[in-house]
Subunit: 276 residues, 2 copies
Amino acid sequence: MKRSERLINMTNYLLAHPHELISLSLFVEKYNSAKSSISEDLTLVKKTFLEQGIGEIKTISGVTGGLKFIPKISDELGKKMVDSLCEEMSEEDRLLPGGYVYLSDLLGQPKLLREVGQIIASKYADKKVDYVMTVATKGVPIAQAVSYLLNVPFVIVRRDSKITEGATVSINYASGSSHRIEKMELSKRSLKEDSRVLIVDDFMKGGGTIHGMESLISEFKSTVAGICVFAEARFNGEREIVSPYDSLLFVQDVDTKTKNIKVVPGNIYKKEADEI
Amino acid sequence: MKRSERLINMTNYLLAHPHELISLSLFVEKYNSAKSSISEDLTLVKKTFLEQGIGEIKTISGVTGGLKFIPKISDELGKKMVDSLCEEMSEEDRLLPGGYVYLSDLLGQPKLLREVGQIIASKYADKKVDYVMTVATKGVPIAQAVSYLLNVPFVIVRRDSKITEGATVSINYASGSSHRIEKMELSKRSLKEDSRVLIVDDFMKGGGTIHGMESLISEFKSTVAGICVFAEARFNGEREIVSPYDSLLFVQDVDTKTKNIKVVPGNIYKKEADEI
């Protein structure tokens, strides 16, 4: 196969297999080319991926070595994406009765979800995540977008039991915004013990739901690898949440009279979240 | 920019912008290269995408012309993917009480979802889909996978009302398997009138849920562009569904005593679904 064809094919292959250990010999066989040619190709791909902000290609040496494509966008690009998200979120017709913000259309747009996935997967690229966890329903698209790029499964916690889940583990938690005791459950076979779990969700107010997921993770004898929400809202009550978290957006102010929503960037690019 | 770098970058760009009209001048400016060089690059990319089963690159001529990348895998590759799905689905520990099949783990695997997306998006690539529709919760990952590749938004129909959805349109429908009257609703602002909607779901038994979504689409003065389910089950009662549909898998037999599940390929590669 010619170099030009190899480069196109290799780019496609790497993009479809993020965070996966690929042995050099796979490409040698796949393209029926010499190892030295493949190495030269990879140097080109590596350079372009880095320059264009697509991600890193890591070389793992040793007998079981090879390479790994780590999707990673620059903070600069991520900040730009967050800024344009702030604008979209600030549209006044998003305000619903009770001060809630309408998000469903945004969380159904493939372009936006790809970007949200890139931002979160870049941030947690080195955190050894085994699973992404979210709660049904609106967190699911975010979890899937991140799962695609980290190349790990995602699991969905449910508030209602379904026969199609089999045996479940359930916990009770205090819903921060309404101060009610609610229940959430996760299928017993969906999470292996001793895993590192990244929690994602669409919206955080009191933090009760996130806190509930943390408890659920410890029921599965696993560890929280990180917490990241699409948007957090100013909350004047007592926050349930204790662990450090990242947010892409911060809904600073909602004025139900003037129908104004003020959305600013969240904390994801403001500080390094403490290591958990 | 050098040809090799352009090819890598262009491949990445096209893969991230499926079904989108891209003008040649975008690449001319982006890569600061002559139009003739870009055309040569595209010929190479087009050839490789076709040969490797990644998809087609269509040239649209005229002043408002340009090119479009249409993700499309071959039927041959699709059939292979379906065969391996059959194997995974046939594992005996998937059988739940009542003859239900445990699917949640599969529908949380990024590799599997990418493949399911490729199969469905290939089939409906030319059906002028404006939206992908599904019902919460387990249909969501499938809808998103297809939405990524068709590059159209997806909308989620819910069985329970949520304040964060704003005004909704709701309908009642007969749940085929349990013969109960249930309710489903969709946020009023999530679907524009006169749209063409592709319905996807994880599992079809009596077809009641699918039929409900069809009714909902007509309430929005829109048209069903197609119906595709991940798995359908043998159903001895009267099927609610009338419109033609595609299925990736067919759960032929479930034996609760021996805990055997027999899964065979669905109808997606067996016939051309009638045009709707």
